[in-house]
Every structure is written in structure tokens, then in C-alpha cells.
């Protein structure tokens, strides 16, 4: 296996990276596979000490690191959890990641956390609320963060914006960047019946700083299908096709292979990242 030649603690390169999972800590250090970067779930490294944090610190000397959070509950109407934010700030200071990201979602209300990425209504009220909180977090961290579009399984009535317009306005209002999850675009488009190409066309080119790729599963409800964002399998052909469109529109953007359930051997993730690199290079050649 080729080994990484990347320089750590720098910006995230416009290559494919892989999600960092604990089962791969040792293999990554031993094999140093040639992937562009690693993305760690922030909350997995909120520890005060211990082996996981040591692994992340060691890997940060080898690979550029992105921190991807799932617990800030940015869209919630509860106050921002300042203790959570302080832990994130401490981790950011310690690891010096190339990118920091969170989700366009909420997960807590009334002091209870549901620990899932719950959908927001695409209304001006929700947009203003989220933009204020994103700006607040950016101030607290002293840097721009990226906000990721989530897979959703329901839409609220009374929407005032399409999802892509909501994201574009969020970036404009808060100054955040966007993390475009192409699998999530595909999953939500199938679940709600919108055109994923219209979604991509509605996202400002300059706002996207990272792309996510992942696998999903298909559940049936009578005659209807619901796609579930499980991160449990390979990127499907349809999502690769959408990624091809995305890399033409959002050029030189790093992409990440996410795999969180039924996690395969490291080599499988590295091969998937290589495939993402080949897709990007092929589209770039076509564009040239």
C-alpha cells in the first residue's frame, strides 16, 4: 500500500480523505495509507486524556485533520451548550484542524438531547435563528465553520425556502462555509421528490469547502421507498454520478468517505477514497 506523503496540520487538500474510526487507529499509524486527510468526529475526542486522544494527536502529525461535530445542536431553540462548545474549542486548539464542521439540524430541546440530526423547517425564522448561532460559534472558535446538509425523512409544512436556498442564505447570513453531502442530497431528493441537480445548481460555488460521500440503505413502506442515511455500505452508482456533477461545479474541493456502521477493513475505505480521487480527476480532465 502506498504511504501518505501529505503534510499534517495544514489545510485540507483537494483530495479524498476518510473518516477516522477507532478500529483503524493502529492500522493508520502502522500503514500510513495514501489518503489525503482524515476526518474525526469531534465528540469522540472530547476526552481529557487517554489513548484515543493520543492516536488523534499522532495522526495529526501525519495527516491533515478535519473535525466534524454532531452534538452542538445548532438549530435548537435551547441555549447553546457552552460546555460542549468549550470542549470543541479545546480540541480545535489542540489539533489545529484544517476544517471544522457541524450540521444544519437540531438535536435537543427542553434540555433533552435526542442525539440525532433532526430536520429544521426551511423558514426564515429558522434561518435567522440558525445563522445567529452559527455566527456565535464561529466567534467562540475564532474561525469559520462549515455546515452540512443532512439526510431527511420528513419535511415540514409551511416551508418558505427550498433546502438549497436555505443553505445558500445561511452561508451568506452567517459567513459559514458549506459541507455538501452528496449522499444526503441524493437521499433527501429521493425521499421528498426534488431534483438533486436543482439542489446542486442552487448552492453557491464559492460556499462549498468540503464534500461528503457515503452509502445508504433503502427501506420500503408499501409501494414507497424511504432511503436511510446509514453510512453502512459503498457509495452507490447514483451518488457517484451526482458527485461527478458536483466536482464540475465545485472544483478542487476535498471529499470524504464516511463509513460508520459495519465498518470495513481500512483497505476498503482507502480504495473508496481512491475511487473518489479518480472521479474528481476524470471530471477535471473533461473540464480541461
Amino acid at each position: 500500500m502506498a504511504t501518505s506523503q501529505t503534510v499534517a496540520r495544514g489545510p485540507i487538500p483537494a483530495r479524498a480523505g476518510i473518516g477516522l474510526r477507532a478500529v483503524h487507529h493502529e492500522a493508520l499509524l502502522a500503514e500510513r495509507p495514501d489518503v489525503g486527510w482524515l476526518e474525526a468526529h469531534s465528540e469522540n475526542y472530547f476526552a481529557d486524556g487517554g489513548a484515543s486522544l493520543d492516536y488523534l494527536a499522532q495522526l495529526a502529525e501525519i495527516y491533515p485533520i478535519s473535525l466534524h461535530g454532531v452534538g452542538l445542536s445548532l438549530g435548537s431553540t435551547d441555549p447553546i451548550d457552552r460546555a460542549h462548545l468549550r470542549r470543541l474549542r479545546r480540541l480545535v486548539d489542540r489539533i489545529e484542524p484544517g476544517l471544522v464542521s457541524e450540521h444544519v439540524s437540531w438535536s435537543s430541546v427542553g434540555g433533552i438531547h435526542l442525539n440525532d440530526l433532526l430536520p429544521l423547517p426551511y423558514t426564515w425564522e429558522a434561518l435567522r435563528h440558525l445563522a445567529r448561532r452559527v455566527a456565535d460559534v464561529q466567534d467562540a472558535l475564532g474561525r469559520q465553520i462549515l455546515l452540512e446538509n443532512v439526510s431527511s425523512y420528513l419535511q415540514f409544512t409551511g416551508a418558505e425556502l427550498d433546502e438549497w436556498d436555505f443553505l445558500a442564505a445561511l452561508a451568506r447570513e452567517s459567513g459559514c462555509g458549506l459541507l455538501l453531502d452528496v449522499n444526503n442530497v441524493y437521499v433527501s431528493s429521493r425521499n421528498h421528490g426534488f431534483d438533486p441537480l436543482e439542489f446542486l445548481a442552487g448552492i453557491p460555488r464559492e460556499a462549498v469547502h468540503e464534500i461528503h460521500l457515503a452509502g445508504h440503505t433503502v427501506n420500503r413502506h408499501g409501494e414507497r421507498e424511504i432511503l436511510i442515511d446509514t453510512h453502512s455500505t459503498h457509495v452507490c452508482d447514483a451518488v457517484w454520478g451526482l458527485y461527478d456533477v458536483a466536482v464540475r461545479r465545485f472544483q478542487d474541493v476535498p471529499a470524504l468517505i464516511e463509513w460508520d456502521t459495519d465498518i470495513p477493513a481500512l483497505g476498503v475505505l482507502v480504495a473508496e477514497a481512491k475511487a473518489a480521487d479518480l472521479h474528481r480527476e476524470a471530471r477535471r480532465d473533461l473540464a480541461a
Partner: protein, 274 residues
């Protein structure tokens, strides 16, 4: 129009109860009932929570079986929902929940197993100890020794139980082969366990009564005089200076301070050298 706050409260209620009635009229059904759509989120919430519990309490999962853990975990999710955005914290009140749920049944010892597994997880992620300043301690006049507040290694925890926890834990670790050993009698003896992280692994060891009482006081930030009194009550024959030296050498006691801010004396004193 419903405010964002009201919508989130209704959504959370629907997810937690499985009843989508609070969201009637607020969800685009598009051929799939709102209840079904909300159910996907309810399932995600439950699976995220239960998956974390299974990872946090593998010995309990083996003792009670995965189905039992998921069943009691579902009740725990209902009664003690998560209060943080960090899933790693959701097991914090599980032992207490088991204590209430299992009461005086033959499975009451599960509560203590849960306490041990939670301590194990906390030790794994605790901070490294500060350097022990032996020279400064050596300079302390003997008259002030009784006021010294020692610190236990942050990556250490103490667990006392009327059950043979160490044997139970050793026989039911995830890496043990199934049905490997004889059944452990629950009346085989009480436990006084130290859970200690050393570099990348966690040790469990039984402590003598005097050491355990001494460390328990230290863990409660009691001054040396009080800790010594408790230790000697537990074991009148304990050689306290030797015990302290041993605990420092083993990096179980890793720091000290005085309750006031008086400067440390310059003249050395040998009492606590190890």
C-alpha cells in the same frame, strides 16, 4: 404559525412517545404517514442510544444478554434521556437506573457491574496526572503533614461492592470465550477495586482494606490526618508511611497540595521521599 420552539417541542415529544399526534398538520406526508416518518427518527434515536450503551457496558450485555440490555436500555432512555450532545455521556446514570429497576432481585449485582464498567470508561478518557512534586513535599515541615491533601491519579477510580466484581468482570469481558468458566458464587466475597489506566490499558486490582480506605479519603480530598485515621480504622496494622510510598510509586497517588497558599519551606524533610 407554530414557532420553531413549539415545533421542536412537539417533534421531540413525538419522537420520544412514538405518537405523531403533536405534529398533525405540520408534516408533509406524501404517501407515507407522519407517524412512519417520525418513527425513522425515533428508531435512530433509540439505536444511537442503545448502541452506545452496548459499547459502554459490554460485561453487562454478556451477563444479561443483548436483548435484556436493549430492553432495560429502552426504559432507561425513557426515564433518563440524554442531557448532552455527547453520546459518550449517556451511561452516567445507568447504574442508578439499574439499582432502582432491579432492587433486591438476584440481579441486584448488575448495578455494581454497571458502576465498574462506567468507572472503566471514565478512566479511559481521564487526563494524565500532573508531575508529583516530591522535592517540595520533602521540604514541608512535619507539623504540616497532617494538612496535606493528596490527589489520586485522575485516571483512577475506586469501586466497593459486596459482590466478587473482579471475578465477574474477568469471566465476562468481551474478549473471553463463551461459557469458559464455572459460575461465580455471588457470595464469594466483597470487592475493593482500584481501576487504573496505565498508558493505553486499564488495570483492575483488589486493594487491601487499609489502602482502599486511605485512597477513598484521598479521592474525597480529605487531608492526610483524616485519611490516615480512616485507613487505620480499616486496618489497624497498616504501615501508613510505607503504604503512601507504595501508592506514590505505583502512580496511584500522583499529587498533593496544602489547603492554604502559604509558601513551601526551603529546608528539605525526608518523610515522604519514595
Amino acid at each position: 404559525m407554530t414557532s420553531l420552539r413549539d415545533l421542536q417541542l412537539a417533534f421531540a415529544t413525538a419522537v420520544r412517545t412514538g405518537d405523531a399526534a403533536p405534529l398533525v398538520g405540520r408534516v408533509v406526508t406524501n404517501g407515507i404517514p407522519a407517524e412512519r416518518r417520525v418513527g425513522i427518527y425515533a428508531n435512530n434515536v433509540r439505536e444511537n442510544f442503545l448502541g452506545t450503551l452496548e459499547a459502554t457496558f459490554p460485561v453487562l450485555a454478556r451477563l444479561g444478554g443483548r436483548d435484556w440490555l436493549r430492553s432495560v436500555g429502552t426504559a432507561y432512555l425513557r426515564d433518563c434521556p440524554s442531557r448532552t450532545g455527547n453520546l459518550h455521556s449517556v451511561g452516567e446514570r445507568f447504574a442508578c437506573h439499574l439499582g432502582a429497576a432491579l432492587g433486591d432481585t438476584r440481579y441486584a449485582y448488575f448495578q455494581d457491574v454497571a458502576r465498574l464498567e462506567w468507572a472503566y470508561q471514565q478512566v479511559l478518557v481521564a487526563r494524565e496526572p500532573d508531575a508529583f512534586d516530591r522535592d517540595a513535599l520533602a521540604r514541608l515541615p512535619p507539623a504540616r503533614h497532617g494538612a496535606v491533601v493528596f490527589a489520586m491519579n485522575p485516571a483512577a477510580a475506586l469501586i466497593a461492592s459486596v459482590y466478587p466484581l473482579l471475578a465477574i468482570w474477568q469471566a465476562n469481558r468481551p474478549e473471553c470465550v463463551a461459557d469458559a468458566g464455572p459460575e461465580i458464587p455471588l457470595d464469594a466475597g466483597a470487592s475493593r477495586l482500584l481501576v487504573l489506566r496505565r498508558r493505553d490499558h486499564v488495570e483492575l486490582r483488589e486493594l487491601p482494606a487499609g489502602d482502599f480506605a486511605f485512597l477513598s479519603s484521598i479521592a474525597q480530598h480529605r487531608p492526610l490526618a483524616t485519611a490516615a485515621e480512616h485507613a487505620l480504622q480499616a486496618d489497624p496494622d497498616l504501615d501508613l508511611p510505607q503504604a503512601l510510598i507504595r501508592l506514590v510509586q505505583l502512580e496511584i497517588v500522583t499529587g498533593w497540595r496544602l489547603p492554604d497558599s502559604n509558601p513551601l519551606p526551603a529546608s528539605p524533610s525526608p518523610e515522604f521521599r519514595s
